[in-house]
Assembly symmetry: C2
């Protein structure tokens, strides 16, 4: 609850103008409780950055390269709807008066995308000429900028559409033709995939709870 409130304030005001007082008011907790968990504004920002999910585990697809598209579309959707992702995005991009290492998120995300592209290439889905590291960095850089532009013009409302344009323009130089023809790039995909992921996570929680109950039943 504290982290969601902090992320929302960082998203709206940026690190420098965010105040502990504002975060307390939104989270509805006492000063003591907040300082117990997070001794400073910088600790709070760091926790929001840690809480963001960049290595989004999308559902496995027959075409691995589809997962590259899906990760981007799920993140686009969450940047519109999830306070943690929104707050983290602003913290990661905006150099404020803090000692946070903004490079960390970009590096972590690049490594994750590079892994997806490498696996796609090993399967023969990606053209031999593609330098997967370079392409992963292009994706992360371009995505950051599209996100800023979308935030300025539509508060992330058109980010999925902008990302689809990026994919339409770059995938023809990444995917082999037979794969390219089968990729699904539509901007609505993010919302649908996010709902599926939530449902899946809820089911897993239920199964885990049942297993726990079974274990208790079997206990002597």
């Amino acid at each position: 609850m504290i982290l969601e409130a902090a992320a929302a304030v960082f998203d709206e005001l940026g690190f420098d103008r965010a105040t502990i007082a504002e975060i307390l008011a939104r989270a509805g907790v006492t000063k003591g409780a907040l300082y117990f968990h997070f001794p400073s504004k910088e600790e709070l920002a760091l926790a929001v950055l840690h809480e963001q999910v960049l290595d989004i585990a999308v559902r496995p697809q027959q075409i691995k390269l589809q997962e590259f598209v899906d990760v981007g579309q799920v993140l686009s959707y969450r940047l519109r709807h999830d306070p943690i992702q929104r707050g983290a995005a602003r913290l990661a991009i905006e150099p404020g008066s803090n000692h946070l290492d903004r490079k960390q998120s970009m590096l972590a995300w690049t490594a994750f995308i590079e892994g997806l592209l490498k696996e796609s290439k090993a399967r023969g889905e990606v053209m031999e000429s593609v330098n997967v590291r370079e392409t992963a960095e292009l994706f992360v850089g371009a995505f950051s900028g599209l996100q800023i532009m979308s935030k300025a013009f539509s508060n992330q409302g058109d980010l999925s559409q902008r990302l689809t344009v990026f994919f339409e323009h770059s995938l023809p130089t990444i995917a082999v033709p037979a794969i390219l023809a089968k990729l699904r790039l539509e901007p609505e995909r993010g919302a649908q995939l996010d709902a599926e992921l939530r449902e899946h996570a809820a089911l897993e929680d239920e199964e885990a709870a049942e297993e726990g109950a079974d274990l208790l039943d079997a206990a002597p």
Copy 2:
């Protein structure tokens, strides 16, 4: 001089942490002189944003689409070397505690790029399927993000290289093949074009000065 000093301070510290005292120290002017021209920090930021050149008039090329590439590469080069462009880029991207309309630079740049692409399309250099508005917005968004990434990792040292990767990945879906084969995308182009533009501007200044002298000679 004041504007260059202000731009350098905005580039290093961002709008919120930039102080008039720091700008005065760098510009070496008195408080009175500065306030006479710019009554507030916001006025200074606005002037830096106005001073930046986004509609870079590159030398005309046989292939119009080459000018699209050239504009990007010249701006990349200037973002590395020109304090005004650097300061304006940070002001345009970073939402600080000011009332500057950050959308203005993005809109102006998009309109300029869209114009170049439209002209290229009218000449048959750009594929019929290309939506020039969408492509111009993709370029501006992606460029902003590549610039942020390059600043974080190499203080703009590798921006030209990153931009070349963007062009390599997107031009095959923009240019018709016969044009694509002739485009020059190498990252070194920015430095070379910038030098040519400066030389050209110096020559024009000289000619204008000579014309002025002739007019004086001819005067009764």
